[in-house]
């Protein structure tokens, strides 16, 4: 489904990704781990098409298409979803209106018919349960005044509504208490399908107790320094990252 080959990217004049190679097949869950500043979040953002990064080398193929040539919204239409580490606030725009617009844009791009507001409420009612959210959330402005945990749950709600082919969760566990973590993980697990794939970016092994990965990749200094099965995450929990990193870290590289 996704083949990344030698991907390099910079932010300003700093090189953050220095040749990432990995591939993800349908039905798989991949975890990307690594210390702060290793380039994990940058990888997530570059895959979604964030304009703040410049791709300087390598290729990314997604379902046979050149992903890097696609606009961020085209990637969304093609089923790529990024759960943001820091979800953005949009004051004055209700969550319901925002979600319906996104839902309909993706349907339109797929040649499907738009859904009307009443039918959409039915869709929502069911998905809200998945992330244990109250209907009142729909009338609040997008992420505006939400607590950290509410923002993260709202990301998973969006994911549940938009039903992506490839979901990328960027540090979705950061700032969550254990109960919220479980709700989020249950939501993600409930959405797993044989035809979909998930990339989980995380600093801690904790989330992987709940979302069990098929593969774990360790990123350091913009490169994958080790890949393995789910047991690698446990190893990291016990031994830390230092034993994998043989060269000094670049100071201040974006997480």
């Amino acid at each position: 489904m996704l083949t990344i080959d030698g991907l390099r990217a910079t932010a300003g004049d700093r090189e953050i990704l220095r040749g990432i190679t990995m591939s993800v097949a349908a039905g798989e869950v991949h975890a990307i781990m690594g210390p702060n500043g290793s380039g994990k979040s940058t990888l997530a953002q570059v895959l979604a098409g964030h304009p703040g990064y410049e791709v300087t080398g390598g290729t990314v193929e997604y379902d046979g298409r050149d992903l890097l040539a696609m606009e961020p919204e085209e990637r969304a239409h093609a089923g790529i979803f990024l759960a943001f580490q820091y979800p953005v606030e949009i004051p004055g725009v209700s969550n319901a209106y925002f979600l319906r617009t996104a839902f309909n844009e993706i349907r339109k791009a797929r040649g499907e018919e738009e859904i009307d507001p009443m039918d959409f409420l039915d869709v929502m009612a069911e998905r809200l349960k998945l992330v244990d959210m109250d209907e009142a959330m729909l009338q609040r402005s997008v992420n505006s005044g939400f607590s950290g945990g509410e923002k993260k749950r709202n990301e998973i709600l969006q994911m549940a509504v938009l039903e992506p082919r490839l979901a990328i969760l960027d540090e979705t566990d950061s700032g969550l208490d254990i109960d919220a973590l479980r709700v989020v993980a249950d939501g993600v697990n409930a959405l797993r399908r044989p035809e979909n794939a998930t990339i989980v970016v995380t600093h801690y092994q904790r989330l992987l107790n709940y979302i069990v990965p098929d593969y774990v990749h360790v990123l350091a200094n913009g490169r994958i320094v080790k890949s393995g099965g789910k047991e690698l995450a446990l190893d990291l929990e016990a031994r830390g990252y230092d034993w994998l990193i043989d060269e000094p870290r670049t100071a201040g590289a974006g997480a």
Partner: protein, 477 residues
């Protein structure tokens, strides 16, 4: 913020066409003879001519104000023609006799004047250049005793009302542009709602500038008698031209005891091109006077004009009166806006509420200028002002000039201001969810303006939202 967030293409102004029609136009220039000629063409009674002449003489002693935060080359008032009317227009004739070309113009603007296709629930007075060319639903309104007609018609048929209220809120001596308007105004709309009557439909005036080298100087006077209610909408467009055109209007609102007047504007005059060539200079004086328990509410969505200079204000003269001002002002390309309000608290226990949303894109400069004044006798006055600015890109500007004068120590005045910037992160977030850049901007901006849009009548809210999208189209790349 990278430079990718800017790139100003701007969608074509869709109302920029010209109607080719024979007009009765006075030659450029301004003197007492021109004032007399206008008055004569309008077949006005003596009191009107006298009032105009007093205004003209006053105007000659005044100088153009330059305290606002806008810049433009000096205006040559002798180069403007002060009267232009379609030759075929019959100010007092019925709508069926309307020149088909003018009818077509309004059709193209989406304002049908055919009796059978009237905007549901909205009565329209159509002003074409200097004169009103037709008013719809007149008979229906008459049943309720409501007068809704062109100003010229009101002078003929209700001279008593006109004489009583004309200049009672904005005197001819008020300011340079108000004096100019008083001297040369050629038409506009007039509304009178009798005691205790709730106007059953929205009243609306649609202003269209067509002729070249002319100014438009219309005057609107709305009087809501005791306990009456009226909601009034105003829309405006003009052809695209490379020369600037002056629009100096005056609007006076009178809300007698227990009356409510709600006045909404969607202003979409031609704004000039990307480099700031052409466009309307919109120098307007709008003010209302609220007597006991009365309420005056201004809502404006200002998206057009090269320069906007207007401060819809409320004189809270009666005890327990209320004034409101809800504003969205958008500038893109080289547009400049200096707009806001004045709330003058005179009666006891008066309330005012100000919500101003300024959006700046391109090289646009947007200023909020607002005065809240509480006179010594106005005990228990209450004001809340919220003033938010949004910047798109980094070549535009937002400025806030609040003036607060409280001369009574029981007054409670609050002022909140914020400035935000549409961030690349907000746009990326929405694009990641499948929206295009344009949709993203439009969603962020309409969220920002929601508090104001919800004050607009239904028919206008949607139009305003779409207009905003068009005005800002291309402002984010």
């Amino acid at each position: 913020m990278s430079s990718s967030i800017e790139s100003l293409v701007g969608k074509e102004y869709q109302y920029g066409f010209t109607t080719d029609i024979e007009a009765d136009t006075l030659p450029p220039g301004l003197n007492e003879d021109v004032v007399r000629a206008i008055s004569r063409r309008k077949r006005e009674p003596a009191f009107m001519l006298e009032w105009r002449l007093k205004a003209f003489r006053r105007w000659q002693t005044l100088t153009e104000p330059h305290w606002s935060n806008v810049t433009y080359p000096p205006l040559d008032y002798q180069a403007i023609s002060y009267y232009s009317a379609p030759k075929t227009a019959k100010p007092l004739g019925s709508l069926d006799e309307l020149d088909p070309k003018i009818r077509e113009t309004y059709d193209k603007l989406g304002i049908p004047l055919h009796e059978q296709k009237l905007l549901a629930g909205v009565a329209v007075d159509a002003v074409f250049d200097s004169v009103s060319v037709g008013t719809t639903y007149k008979e229906e309104l008459k049943k309720h005793g409501i007068v809704f007609c062109s100003f010229g018609e009101a002078v003929q048929e209700h001279p008593g009302l006109v004489e009583q209220y004309l200049g009672s809120v904005v005197p001819y001596s008020d300011n340079f542009f108000a004096a100019l308007n008083a001297a040369v105004f050629s038409d506009g709309s007039f509304v009178y709602v009798p005691k205790g009557v709730r106007c059953p439909m929205e009243l609306s005036t649609y202003f269209r500038i067509n002729a070249e080298g002319t100014g438009q100087f219309e005057r609107t006077l709305i009087v809501a008698d005791e306990g009456a209610y009226v909601s009034y909408l105003e829309g405006c467009t003009a052809p695209k031209r490379s020369a600037n055109q002056l629009h100096a209007a005056v609007v006076e609102l009178v809300a007698l005891d227990n009356a409510t007047v709600k006045y909404s504007t969607v202003q979409n005059w031609y704004a000039g091109d990307e480099d700031g060539r052409g466009g309307i200079y919109n120098f307007v004086t709008k003010r209302g006077k609220a007597l006991r328990n009365a309420k005056i509410s201004w809502t404006q969505v200002e998206t057009g004009s090269a320069i906007t200079w207007k401060y819809p204000s409320v004189i809270l003269q009666g005890d327990n009166s209320t004034g409101e001002f809800y504003s969205v002002a958008v500038v893109n390309n080289r547009q400049q806006a200096d707009t806001g309000t004045k709330m003058i608290h005179i009666g006891r226990n008066t309330k005012s509420n100000i919500v101003s949303k300024g959006i700046s894109a391109g090289h646009g400069q947007n200023s909020y200028r607002g005065q809240v004044k509480v006179v010594p006798k106005a005990s228990g006055a209450r004001n809340y002002t919220q003033c938010d600015s949004m910047l798109i890109g980094n070549r535009c500007g937002a400025h806030t000039f609040p003036y607060i004068e409280a001369q009574n120590n029981t007054a409670i005045i609050e002022h909140e201001a914020s400035t935000s910037k549409i961030g690349e992160d907000q746009i990326f977030y929405l694009k990641q969810r499948g929206l295009s850049a344009e949709q993203a901007v439009s969603m962020i901006v309409s969220g920002f303006c929601r508090e104001v849009f919800k004050e607009l009548p239904m028919e206008f809210a949607l139009e305003a939202q779409q207009l905003l999208g068009i005005t800002l189209e291309g402002s984010v790349g």
